[in-house]
């Protein structure tokens, strides 16, 4: 069975009389160790899907299995446990705690994990070991995003979810971040789900999921994923 499996998942927002189907009955699956990219235009429901997958949001209908666990049926406590032990999240706007240094931000994650990476190792893997004692405000956007990735990696999650991690970054920095994620996926055999509205990135993925208006319009496996370095956009 696949690591991630969406079965006919709906997410509806009721705004008075109108019902908006942000996610409109989607089903797809992602295998373990894959680097999956979700693409789609703005408002397609990508973030909603990721949030449901990350246990931050609940589906209105349908079932989501992660590692044979139906996360739509989990109670509050188990859902937190799920986020705590199974999920790593990288946000578009980094969301580092401004009052903690880079290292401390990573520690924030390692303190609650069962089998965490050493936080120095994590920072080293994102190449920021020298900046470990800097506060977020003292780091550039890319550096902050790398700390954010280090924080997610340090938990050693089953699933690494990234919502437009390069959205606020320039081309080169974005590329470096993507490379870091790809390497992590390859080397650590970690399943990575990455959201982007940038079509150009899709060649680097093992699996491409294309969404439109809350529906998955394409779910294909990329037979020859490319290295990030070889992609230009």
């Amino acid at each position: 069975m696949s690591l991630v499996e969406f079965k006919n998942v709906y997410k509806q927002y009721k705004m008075g009389e109108v019902t908006i189907n942000a996610v409109d009955g989607i089903s797809f699956n992602i295998e373990e160790g894959e680097f999956a990219v979700v693409v789609g235009s703005s408002g397609a429901g990508k973030t909603t899907v990721l949030n449901i997958l990350g246990g931050m949001d609940s589906a209105t209908k349908g079932e989501v299995f992660v590692d044979n666990k139906n996360i739509t049926k989990l109670n509050d406590k188990s859902l937190i446990d799920y986020r705590r032990f199974d999920i790593g999240f990288v946000f578009q706007f980094y969301n580092l705690i401004p009052n903690l240094t880079a290292k401390e931000n990573v520690e924030l994650a390692t303190q609650i994990s069962k089998n965490p990476l050493d936080c120095e190792t994590a920072l080293e893997s994102v190449g920021l070991i020298e900046r470990k004692d800097n506060f977020p405000a003292q780091l550039s956007g890319g550096e902050q995003q790398r700390v954010s990735i280090a924080r997610a990696l340090a938990k050693r999650p089953k699933l690494l979810l990234c919502d437009e991690p390069t959205g606020a970054l320039d081309y080169n920095t974005g590329k470096a971040i993507l490379k870091l994620l790809q390497n992590t996926c390859r080397e650590e055999k970690m399943t990575v789900v990455l959201i982007t509205h940038n079509q150009a990135i899709t060649p680097m993925a093992d699996r491409v999921i294309r969404m439109k208006s809350g529906k998955v319009i394409e779910n294909r496996i990329n037979e020859n994923p490319m290295n990030v370095d070889d992609i230009e956009w």
Partner: protein, 1128 residues
């Protein structure tokens, strides 16, 4: 304002309800509390003004040392500035009816005098005012236990003053319960009778007073009451002016009185004195005559006695002489007896001597006779031996016949025949033996011849001697006979002499007996005479004493009259105004106190309100950066953008003001007045008079602080260019704090502690707001609890630890300790009492070099300091070290020492006379002010012993029944006027305190409200500000508890800091409040109990917990998705 902006603003308010309500609530609390409390004083003042006007309270009260007459009344009425005058009476009396004795001030029922209005009108609570003799209306205060229909008997005397003569009746029936504007507080003032305290006042009809002159005049000012508030300075000035006028009137009237009364009285006294002198002289002369007569009689008596004595003395001398002669005769007789005896004896001796010689001579003759008979015996022996010798030499064979013959010869030998026998024997033997033995015989015969010769010689000698002795013996015998005759003769002569002597003695004895009789007679006569004399003298003395007594009585009468006149001495009018009414000035002071407290408390609220507003608005404006930028970019002016926020803040402030005013202004003054109404006997409720000044001030402050703070925050943000505003604000840079430098410590912290500490130091305004808000809450609460302690300690410490006595017995009058014996003994022997002490107590004024205190100070003199200290603990409040009275100075109470700024060792001046003494110690005391002295110390200061009137006693297991029993037992005594028990004082006090506790409760509630508002607001903003952070860590998989702890830690630390500061601040605030509201007569407890600190801290902690608990759900509800959706 543009419509869109308006809409936007209302939506903002709707979206941030919690913050808006926070600002509103804090403003409501601040403004409401401030204006509410501030309005209390004016409301109370207005109530007083109305009450005084309604009852037409006098403005002046005049008293004179001699009372007043109609002319005086008219004179006062005509004084400029005076409207109405009402003359009346008052009399301080005591009553022993009821359970305990009481000192009552009897007042004449207010009545219309001439055409003036009734002054000091009473309010009848129940029944009616007395209209005829024997009716009485009693005051309505709690400690008056009378009911309508009760009977009340006034004591005939109070102290030395006769009351019976001053009242038409002493029996009264209670017909009404009233209150008087003159007695607005529970104070009843002082008096010169009883123990110096008036317990109650009561009204009787004026016709009951049998006094020649009015004792008091009440007068009102000419000015309309409505025009001038009695609390204004204008009124004070008016009073001063009119007082001056009244003084002039007084001078005139006093002079008139002196002319009419004093001089005449003086003349009467002088006449009396003169008359007395004359009478005295007359009586003195009579007495002198009597005395002279007695002296004469005395002299006569002396001479008569001495003559009789002389006669007796001469008889005595004669007897003496006779006795001497007799004894001379006796001794002569004895002498002649001795001589006679000597003579006889010597003659006898001589005769005896001669007789002895004769005897010895006779003895010699006997010797010779013996020798002769010896010789004769020898002759026999020699003859016998010769024969026996021859026998033995006879040859053997000599015939028996020879032998027998020889033996016969031997045996037959005698003195006379010896020679013959021998010759025969010779012859015989010669015949037989032929002469053989002749020779032997011859020899023997020769020997015997010799012997014979000697014997013959001896016989001759004896015969001769005997012949010589015979005449001697005859002569001796004759001598003896003569001597005997002579002795007989002498003895007879002596016996005769002795008989004569005895006769003489007999005679003397008879004479002596006669003398004795006459002597006894003389003694009797002497005693008789003396008694007569004595009687005469006694009669004289008695007469003299009587005369003297009469004179001294007359003199005393005169001097009393003189003294009375002198005591009037300086005839004086005393002009009092309302300030001298018991409790009047206290009421004014109290309203001032409320005002002072009102000024302090709301300062916190305003300060906190400002901080709440600042943080809230800062947050709001920062949240709306983008929006501000957008509006700016769209072309809205800075002013209209700013206006939106100012409008937001000000509408919150406005609603807060309305809410605060509506809820607090009508309630707070009433609550506070309710507390005070326990102390005051005025209207039951008050009409609210809003202190407009404070209202305006509070509104201005509230609006200004909200608006200014908002303007300030907006200004800071509007400076930026629209573009930079629309970009997310660069997060405030993380900063290292000092604590991180302590690496070992820092490294031990987990991330949330680190965040907590960094946050604490980064968001200073938040830190201050919370700390100040919580500190304010704790401080208010501590003040409230501390106040509660202070007030309750007064009762608890004063009556449980300091005053051990529970019974006070007041005597009929002041008297020296010596005259108290009976009462003291009765108390001593009463085993319901454990101990007792005799005390002299009077109301005095006291001063130091700097200050002086004139009211509510009592001089308490202990007759026996040891007993006294058993009942009244004298000790240092702080060290609890016991103090004791000594003869070198006085111990004063703490409050008094403070008011006079006195230290131990300083000099204190007692009474009007300013007697000096040293402060020996300062003792803990809470109610009233005392100067304690021992009797010796008093004597050292005043030069005389004090007069006593009070006994403090401690009864065992005192309860209502025992009190009743003691009351009836002791009031039966002639020498007891009143007996009271501290239980009633304690109850009154407890009631009073109970009402004060209401104020404390108000404070605690407002403090709690403050804490909740501040904490809620703070946490709310904290959450909003850290929404993203919280969402992030929630995404990371933090449990709810961990997430909350992340937020709470800061709150908890701030709460703890705030509590600590608050406790310190609270001590200071409490100290201030206690000092402000303290009255002169009461010292509040000087310590906050530990439990109060704990309560203040714990309650604040609990409020904080409640807020945190509410917040827990808010944290739980934070939506991760929405919070993280966009950048702010």
């Amino acid at each position: 304002m543009k419509k869109a902006l308006f809409k936007n603003t209302f939506r903002e308010i709707k979206n941030t309800k919690a913050r808006f309500i926070s600002i509103m609530m804090i403003v409501a609390l601040g403004v409401g509390f401030f204006v509410g409390v501030k309005s209390t004083a004016p409301s109370m003042e207005q109530m007083a003004i109305d009450y005084y006007e309604e009852t037409n309270l006098m403005d002046f009260r005049l008293i004179s040392t001699v009372g007043f007459d109609e002319d005086d009344v008219k004179a006062v009425e005509n004084t400029s500035g005076i409207n109405d005058v009402s003359p009346s009476y008052f009399l301080d009396v005591s009553t022993t009816s009821g359970d305990t004795g009481k000192t009552i001030r009897l007042l004449g029922a207010p009545s219309k005098y001439a055409d003036s209005d009734i002054i000091n009108d009473t309010l009848v609570i129940e029944g009616r005012m007395p209209t005829k003799d024997g009716e009485i209306a009693i005051e309505c205060n709690d400690f008056s236990k009378y009911k309508i229909g009760d009977k009340l008997t006034i004591d005939e005397k109070v102290g030395d003053t006769d009351i019976k003569g001053q009242l038409s009746t002493l029996e009264y029936e209670v017909v009404g319960i009233v209150k008087s504007p003159m007695y607005i507080s529970i104070e009843r003032g002082t008096t010169t009778v009883g123990n110096g305290k008036i317990d109650e006042f009561a009204y009787i009809a004026e016709s009951n007073f049998e006094l020649e002159r009015y004792t008091v005049m009440y007068a009102t000012l000419d000015t309309s009451k409505k025009a001038v508030s009695p609390f204004s300075e204008e009124y004070e000035k008016l009073i001063d002016d009119v007082t001056d006028n009244l003084e002039l009137t007084a001078d005139v009237r006093v002079e008139a009185f002196t002319g009419e009364n004093i001089d005449e009285a003086q003349k009467k006294i002088d006449d009396g004195k003169k008359e007395l002198e004359e009478e005295k002289a007359k009586v003195e002369k009579e007495l002198a005559d009597a005395k002279a007569e007695i002296e004469k009689g005395e002299k006569e008596y002396e001479s008569e006695i001495s003559t009789a004595q002389a006669q007796i003395d001469s008889a005595q001398a004669e007897i003496q002489k006779g006795r001497e002669e007799l004894s001379a005769g006796k001794s002569e007789y004895e002498k002649s007896v001795a001589v006679f005896n000597d003579e006889i004896n010597s003659a006898k001796e001589k005769l005896d001597e001669g007789y002895a010689q004769f005897e010895s001579a006779y003895a010699q003759i006997d010797n010779l006779k013996t020798t002769k008979s010896q010789l004769e015996a020898e002759k026999v022996t020699a003859a016998t031996v010769t024969i026996n010798g021859i026998i033995s030499t006879l040859p053997q064979g000599t015939s028996q016949e020879v032998l027998d013959t020889l033996n016969a010869y031997a045996v037959s030998i005698t003195t006379e025949n010896a020679v013959a026998v021998l010759n025969e024997a010779k012859a015989y033997l010669s015949s037989v033996f032929y002469g053989a033995y002749d020779q032997a015989f011859d020899m023997a015969l020769a020997g015997i011849a010799q012997l014979d010769e000697n014997i013959t010689k001896l016989s001759d000698t004896i015969a001769l001697s005997e012949e010589k002795l015979l005449p001697v013996k005859e002569e001796l015998d004759k001598g003896y006979a003569e001597l005997n005759a002579k002795e007989q003769e002498g003895l007879a002569a002596l016996e005769l002499a002795l008989a004569q002597l005895d006769e003489a003695e007999e005679k003397l004895n008879t004479a002596s007996a006669t003398l004795g009789n006459s002597r006894a007679e003389l003694l009797d006569a002497k005693a008789d005479g003396k008694k007569q004399l004595e009687d005469a003298k006694k009669k004289y003395e008695k007469g003299k004493k009587e005369a003297e007594e009469e004179f001294s009585k007359a003199e005393k009468e005169l001097s009393d009259a003189q003294k009375e006149l002198d005591d009037l001495g300086e005839i004086k009018w005393m002009i009092f105004n309302r300030d001298d009414n018991p409790g009047y000035s206290g009421f004014v002071d109290n309203t001032g106190r409320v005002d002072a407290v009102a000024s302090v408390f709301p300062m916190f609220f305003l300060l906190v309100a400002m901080l709440v507003c600042l943080t809230t608005m800062t947050r709001l404006v920062e949240e709306k950066r983008t929006e501000i930028g957008t509006f700016k970019a769209l072309g809205y002016s800075d002013r209209s953008i700013t206006f939106k926020f100012v409008f937001y803040a000000c509408s919150a402030a406005f609603l807060g003001c309305v809410l605060g005013c509506v809820s607090c202004i009508p309630t707070l003054p009433r609550v506070i007045y309710n507390a005070y109404s326990m102390l005051y006997n005025m209207e039951d409720s008050i009409d609210i008079v809003v202190d407009k000044m404070s209202l305006v001030l509070a509104l201005l402050a509230a609006f200004a602080c909200c608006a200014l703070v908002t303007l300030f925050v907006c200004y800071k943000n509007l400076l930026h260019k629209p573009a930079s505003l629309m970009r997310p604000k660069t997060p405030k840079a993380g900063k290292r704090i000092l604590m991180e430098r302590i690496t070992p410590l820092w490294n031990r912290f987990n991330f949330s502690s680190k965040v907590t500490f960094r946050n604490l130091f980064r968001y200073k305004s938040r830190l201050f707001m919370t700390a100040i808000g919580i500190a304010g809450c704790t401080a208010l609460m501590l003040t409230a609890f501390g106040l509660y302690n202070s007030i309750n300690d007064v009762c608890d410490i004063q009556f449980k630890e300091l005053c051990k006595y529970n019974t006070i017995i007041v005597t009929d009058k002041e008297k020296p300790a010596g005259e108290m014996g009976e009462l003291l003994k009765a108390i001593d022997n009463d085993d319901r009492f454990v101990s007792s002490a005799l005390v002299s107590q009077k109301s005095i004024s006291v001063s130091s070099d700097k200050e002086s205190v004139n009211s509510d100070v009592y001089l308490s003199v202990a007759q026996n300091p040891e007993d006294f200290e058993k009942l009244i603990t004298l000790r240092n409040r702080v060290t609890k070290e016991e103090l004791s009275l000594s003869n070198t100075g006085a111990v004063i109470t703490e409050k008094l020492a403070k008011m006079l700024s006195l230290k131990v060792g300083d000099t204190v001046y007692i009474g009007e006379e300013k007697k000096e003494t040293t402060v020996l110690g300062i003792t803990e005391n809470y109610v009233y002010n005392y100067v304690y002295m021992s009797e010796e110390a008093y004597e050292n200061v005043y030069g005389e012993k004090p007069l006593y009137s009070t006994v403090y006693a401690e009864a065992d297991d005192l309860n209502v029944d025992v009190e009743k029993e003691l009351g009836s037992d002791y009031l039966k005594r002639e020498d007891v006027t009143a007996i009271s028990f501290t239980s009633t004082i304690i109850k009154d006090f407890k009631d009073m305190i109970g009402s004060m506790n209401m104020v404390v409760l108000v404070m605690i509630i407002s403090a709690g409200a403050l804490a909740i508002v501040v904490l809620y607001n703070l946490t709310n903003i904290n959450l909003a500000e850290r929404n993203r952070e919280i969402a992030t860590i929630k995404v990371l998989g933090f449990y709810h508890k961990e997430t909350s702890a992340f937020v709470y830690r800061e709150n908890i630390i701030l709460t703890i800091i705030g509590i600590l500061f608050g406790l310190i601040l609270g001590i200071w605030l409490w100290d201030f409040v206690v000092k402000t509201i303290e009255m002169d007569t009461v010292m509040f407890g000087k310590s906050i109990h530990a439990i109060s600190f704990v309560l203040a801290a714990v309650l604040t902690g609990v409020f904080s917990l409640v807020v945190n608990f509410i917040m827990f759900f808010k944290i739980k509800a934070i939506n991760m998705v929405e919070s993280l959706k966009s950048i702010e």
